[in-house]
């Protein structure tokens, strides 16, 4: 710590009387002043003061007479005492090494020797993280790892993690596509995405550890404080809130137009083990009858769907044709291709409809 003070300043009283003009008197006065100055600088004390110059602290353990603290002389005594002790402290400061910084003498203060008490209470021990709990359970010790790792490709020592780390697989300029992978897949993007996922997962776990340490309740189910909630999230939050009652939501009132919740639980519901044998038999016989009748049941819906898709595609093609300035050829091939599409699965209705649609596509 550095201390600035403009000029050597010594506490002393200015002589008020300047009447005498003779040289002798002047000399005497000057001598007197000198003596006074010196006297002012040196202070006699019974016990030496204890100094902590780093804190600019001086401790005076000398005894104080009670008669000095009487009413009349009290202020003067205290002032004199303060002046003396401050003088001693300044003397100590002058003993330190000084340097001149921009026409100012500056002293370099040493380290503080007084131990100051804590400003705030000591931190509470953090609860162990999930990994720490697991490691303690399994008896896994922390292994000291080297800071730098040899990077074979770069032929130099690189840090184990962080900026410009060794063996960074996202920085490969050449990646062989494995045989089992889709040839159109972007391997570089795949690696980058995997890295982002790892980073996000790490961040999530870190925040969860912090939340657990501060005993902040994180919503496992329910609304997270986001700007925009999606419809699914809100619906889920509503259903969770509804079932969070003592009767698990059975007697909760519903809004006038609210539909009763479908079975949104994870558990599948099966028929009871010993149900009604006759009804079971009937169901199975009906199933056999349907299977045996050989009429395709779902094909109607399939045909309708394919028909609708066809119509949509035709509309899109017509729009494109108009936009492209009536290039008929493009429309033709599109129409014919679509006409041949749903023949296989659609059954008669779908196939016929598709074929019929194909013809106007030619124009």
């Amino acid at each position: 710590m550095l201390v600035f003070f403009p000029a050597p300043h010594v506490f002393h009283c200015e002589p008020t009387n300047m009447a005498a003009c003779s040289v002798e008197e002047l000399l005497a006065k000057a001598e007197q002043e000198e003596a006074e100055k010196l006297k002012s600088i040196s202070v006699q004390k019974e016990l030496d003061l204890e100094f902590d110059v780093g804190n600019l602290l001086a401790c005076d353990k000398n005894r104080i007479e009670t008669r000095d603290l009487r009413e009349k002389k009290r202020n003067d005594f205290l002032r004199a005492l303060a002046r003396d002790n401050t003088q001693l402290l300044i003397n100590e400061i002058w003993k330190l090494p000084t340097e001149r910084v921009e026409e100012v003498i500056v002293a370099k203060l040493p380290e503080q020797t007084t131990r100051l008490p804590r400003e705030k209470p000591p931190p509470k021990p953090k609860p162990p993280t999930k990994w720490e709990q697991f490691a303690k359970l399994k008896g896994i010790q922390k292994k000291k790892k080297t800071n730098l790792v040899w990077d074979e490709t770069a032929k130099e020592w690189r840090r184990r993690w962080g900026y410009k780390r060794a063996n960074d697989d996202t920085k490969d300029w050449l990646i062989e596509v494995p045989e089992t992978a889709d040839p159109n897949e972007d391997q570089f993007a795949k690696r980058n995405k995997a890295k982002k996922e790892r980073v996000a997962k790490n961040e999530l776990n870190r925040l969860r550890n912090i939340a657990r340490a501060h005993k902040v309740k994180t919503p496992g189910e329910g609304l997270l404080p986001k700007a925009q909630q999606s419809k699914d999230e809100l619906a889920k939050a509503v259903s969770v809130a509804k079932t969070s009652t003592a009767s698990v939501g059975r007697f909760q009132d519903r809004l006038p137009k609210e539909k009763p919740p479908k079975n949104s639980g994870k558990k599948r519901k099966f028929e009871p083990l010993i149900g009604d044998f006759n009804s079971e038999k009937q169901k199975q016989l009906e199933l056999l009858k349907i299977m045996g009748s050989k009429t395709p049941k779902l094909d109607i819906t399939k045909a309708v769907n394919t028909q609708m898709r066809e119509e949509d595609r035709e509309e899109a093609a017509a729009r494109r044709r108009k936009g492209a300035g009536g290039k008929g050829r493009k429309g033709n091939t599109a129409g014919r291709g679509k006409g041949k599409g749903p023949k296989g699965k659609g059954g008669k209705a779908g196939g016929g409809g598709g074929k019929r649609r194909g013809k106007p596509g030619k124009h």
Binding site: F270, E271, L273, E280, K281, L285, L288, M291
Partner: protein, 133 residues
């Protein structure tokens, strides 16, 4: 143990119909008692209701098998028919044959070679006189 769901029943019946055709209803609806299919750890068992009622006394991990095992459902929900079902399928089988070649050979062989022998019993020639050429 639980009864089969609609999809599981459908898959199983489709498989059985390949072997016994229409006669599955004779398995479902039997004159001599109510029999049922139950699923236990992905295996389908065929048993009478009397046995089923006795089975309720066993816990899941202690129960190994009930009645006859018809087959099992694989991880991808396909139905695999087991040899233990033969006794029930045999009376209603669409046809019987003996494999002429092993499975591996059958795959590699040309289209015109013989893969199945139909071993007739003594009276078959007389029984199906009209249908045989």
């Amino acid at each position: 143990m639980r009864p089969l769901t609609e999809e599981e029943t459908k898959t199983m019946f489709e498989k059985l119909s390949k072997y016994i055709g229409e006669n599955i209803k004779l398995l479902v609806d039997r004159p001599d008692g109510t029999y049922c299919f139950r699923l236990h750890q992905d295996r389908v068992y065929y048993m009478s209701e009397k046995i089923l009622k006795l089975t309720t006394n066993f816990s899941r991990d202690k129960l190994i098998s009930v009645g006859t095992c018809f087959g099992k459902f694989t991880k991808t929900k396909k139905f695999r028919l087991h040899i233990t079902a033969l006794d029930f399928l045999a009376p209603y089988a669409k046809g019987f044959g003996v494999a002429a070649k092993s499975t591996q050979e059958c795959r590699r062989v040309d289209p015109m070679s013989i893969v199945v022998f139909h071993q007739a019993d003594v009276g078959e020639f007389i029984r199906s006189e009209d249908t045989l050429t």
